[in-house]
Subunit: 220 residues, 2 copies
């Protein structure tokens, strides 16, 4: 065991800097490859996420091949055309103006998956919530994202795919759950606020309105 | 836009320190209350998680009342007795020895929820993966966890509940998804490695075995 004191003010500031300046990057990727040691540090950060029953259900499929990334981009494009049809009015116009992925611009794609059988059929902590393994995998993605920010690497999470398309392109077996496709690369710059906020899609909510006391909606 | 350079070596080390030394705390909680400013910084960190379509679907129900925490503990205990029955042999013996929650020992419980209707029925990025809103909420939990580590606050995620029990105790409406119950408090010490590893439940996997190239299971 180690004494669990708070970090120094400088260390705390660094952690909050990563959290507050992390962005979901779509268009600011540079073509330069990520140094292998940097990438491994980022993946180690992901691998040190909490996981239910310590099952570590994640895999990371690193995709650099341009032909394969083109296939992923085409899968995105098909799904995104369908998605655009679901919005109407001003939102539909704005939706079509937004760039929602950096699949071809970012030099590295990572498909993050979750193997529900990683630790056998009965998993400590998953017995009453079958989603816990996917939640562990999402924690790994958030660790990866923050480590990448500290390394000067941008990350964008793309979710607009038909699962079957991505599964076919990457030969992912039926029992494995696809959690997300991440675009990674060095970046020229980052937005000061979330891009969807800057572009008028939606505002940040007031945190105070999201905090309840003792039960749902009981104000302080 | 801001130039997106890498952090200094000291800043990077602080981010990795938070990631690598974060633990899922069950038994090391101290009774001292968390300072309100510290708690708000931690919740701001959660609120700055990425969210699909910037929907910010999370709420945080802060539970300090001991009677209510006792009810939550009883809900855990009932579910955990069921869970223990699912293991056999050595695992069953070890399972019953593990302390899997700090609901009464930690002075603060936070139930983190996800409101799928936060941004209307059609959400940018959720059109092809209905789980994206819950994944955003999990990213908020991981941000909270890392900020708490930097502040010297321990966090434990408890998932062994029947959803209906927690919902009743906290008056959570049917349309709102319960993502997790977190125990928060100052801590006397932290394990150097995940507690389940230290106690022989399961070992850390080798990261290299979890990384594939170009497609599922293609080795480098």
């Amino acid at each position: 065991m180690t004494t669990a004191s708070a970090f120094s003010e400088e260390e705390k500031a660094a952690v909050y800097r990563a959290i507050m300046t992390r962005r979901d990057v779509r268009d600011e990727f540079l073509p330069d490859p990520i140094e292998p040691e940097t990438l491994m540090r980022i993946l180690e950060a992901a691998h040190h996420a909490p996981s239910v029953g310590f099952m570590q259900p994640w895999n990371f499929i690193l995709v650099r091949d341009e032909e394969r990334r083109k296939a992923v981009f085409e899968a995105f494009s098909r799904a995104n055309d369908e998605a655009a049809e679901l919005f109407s009015g001003e939102k539909a116009v704005l939706y079509r103006q937004l760039k929602l992925q950096g699949i071809l611009k970012a030099p590295l794609g990572i498909c993050v998956t979750c193997d529900p059988d990683r630790a056998g059929p009965v998993v400590l902590g998953r017995t009453h919530n079958p989603r816990m393994d996917s939640y562990s995998t999402v924690c790994a993605i958030q660790n990866l994202w923050l480590a990448a920010r500290a390394e000067g690497i941008g990350v964008g999470w793309v979710s607009i795919f038909h699962d079957a398309d991505l599964r076919a392109i990457l030969n992912i077996p039926a029992g494995i759950e696809i959690i997300g496709w991440l675009c990674l690369g060095k970046v020229s710059a980052l937005y000061d606020q979330p891009e969807l906020q800057v572009k008028g899609w939606r505002d940040r909510l007031a945190l105070e309105d999201l905090i309840f006391h003792e039960e749902w909606r009981r104000e302080p």
